[in-house]
Amino acid sequence: MSKINLNKISHSYNPNDPNPTYALNPFSMVWEDGKRYAILGPSGCGKTTMLNIVSGLVRPSSGKILFDEKDVTDLKTESRNIAQVFQFPVIYSTMTVYDNLAFPLRCRDFSQEIVEERVNSVAETLNLKSFLKLPARKLTADQKQLISLGRGLVREDVAAVLMDEPLTVIDPDLKFKLRRNLKEINEKYKTTLVYVTHDQNEAMTFADNIIVMSEGEVVQTGTPKELFERPKTTFVGYFIGSPAMNLFESETSSNNSVKINDTLIKTATDLSKLKNNKVKLGIRSEFIKIAESQKENVISVDVEKVEDLGNYKLLTAKMGNLTIKSKINRETEVSSEKVNLYIPPEKCCVYEDEKLI
């Protein structure tokens, strides 16, 4: 197990051009030993490029990558001591499930006892015990993917296990179990797990730390709660959470208030040092509450629709030309015309040039 240090890494597919375009803008980051990381972003954001730099399939155009203190920037994949799991199963179809799982250990001359112990332990966690003697080709697609996962997890001496959308082919019911198993494996063996996905739910469930990427840039790294409550850019506010964060064009009005249309909203952000007065106010629909009466930070809105979604109701309302969404308790009766909404100042995020102040 290692700490992975990505130092001023960038990648361009035309580095010699006077104006190179970057698939990955320069960034630095440290991945702590034994933690779970997810790299999350829409397709084309650079997440696979980042993973390939760590695995050694791509050499970065600039920067260094260190496993603990060792510089591995110029080392090939096979010398980096990492395990990889891909989107689709990669197995030796003529071998038994047992031999598939044992393969990475036997290649490195581990003793028969260790092979036996590790293979059984991994097979147990992944529910493969009853299949160990079968030829791998006889298994279903998702069982085959379990073998791939198992082969990635069977070695305790790897620097990290890198996974590229490993649960794509897995049945939804089993997905839940596997996420739990992966977390348990991580807690038990303290394996550093790095997981690439475009699926917010998967990333948020799996990882302690999520690296959100957009257009070649790392836009935020944080826990699920941090990404939800304090999105660093308006993109993260949109991308994380459902529905997306409410965002309103507004103007600063005092040291901590903004004006939306003609309504003053107090925030907990210091706005005194801003260069210009155009900002965006962001507020999650989960934090907006229905208010009884007019007071500070209460806005009066026109109800457009109230959808009963079972576990909650989703209120869509208009304030002038702005649309506001608020999640409300299913038991709450809502007027069909006007309603007062309270916007808690401490839950407001203010953005200048799409970046959190």
């Binding site: 739990r180 739910n201 709660k225 959470g241 459902s242 529905p243 959808e307 576990n311 909650y312 999640k327």
Partner: protein, 359 residues
Amino acid sequence: MNLVGENLSYKLTEELQLRKISFNFEKGKLYTILGRTLSGKTTLLKTIAGLLMPDSGSIRFEDKNFLEIPVWKRNIAMVYQQFINYPHLNVFENIAFPLKQRGLDPQKINDEVFKSLKLVGLEGYEKRKIQELSGGQQQRVSVARSLVKNAKILLLDEPLVNLDYKLREQLREEFKNIFVNGLSEESIVIFSTTDPREAMELNGEVIVLDEGRVLQVGAAKEIFENPKDLKVAAISNDPPMNILKADLGSNKIKFEDIEIDIPDHLSKLKDKHFNFGIRASDIELNDNGFEFEVELAEISGSETLLHLTRGNLKIITSIEEVMDFKIHDKVKINFKSNRAYAFDEVGNLASSPFRGSNV
């Protein structure tokens, strides 16, 4: 005039078959077929489309025997899970294709294509190649192509399943608008999904399908509020409804070592042993509640789903916020018993918070 199916049976494999399915679909309405994988959703849609011939039963539409009408004459449009488009044609040509086949005049084709591009939010994309579009955009092209046909029956077979959740959220919103504003009163829309939230959000008439059988038919809200048995409760709730083996005492409901007060609507149950059903969203964190251990915290959209254990009890609760929990954390919870369901020992609904115990 309706699309009427009677006793449709079809055996594809042992585990995948339709078993005496009947329905009566009216024009101008939206129907959602809700069921899990292998419940027969696709098989049913294909049978309506004419891609499969049932072993027995009948389908009538506009007072004609539909089964005698070949596929291409059925006036049906179908959207599949996979984004199916013509890769060598651009967006405009893809959508125009069915109209060109009909030999419509170019001006009319142009008008129709642009109308439909607008409905699916792809204005300005008409000259793009299919490969230049994202998955969500490709699926919108196939939806636009099916809309432009102005078919009397529009079948959508889990059209959102292969999209990531942000796109799914966006497209679901657009579908609602299309179904409300973009379709004629003459069309029947049938939408299949495994996702109960999708069914709630589309807010049409829901047909709950399981192992090739229709279990319950009703408005989305009705299915949600009064699932007729444990199977329907399982299919129509995500996360699944918590079901706990419980005993009705003289003044308490007991399960494992937990005792809670009896809400009015559960006080007159006939059976003393029953299945206590409570939704994840009706269990709340409460400092004075019962202590459970976190098995896993899952995050879905903005919701945190906590999988909890206490002795032999396993439950799921959902919190409308993103929160950080670790495996083995301790939490205290409270059951909102006025929102609980009772199912009898064979699994039929005995009492619901919306209708009381005379269901």
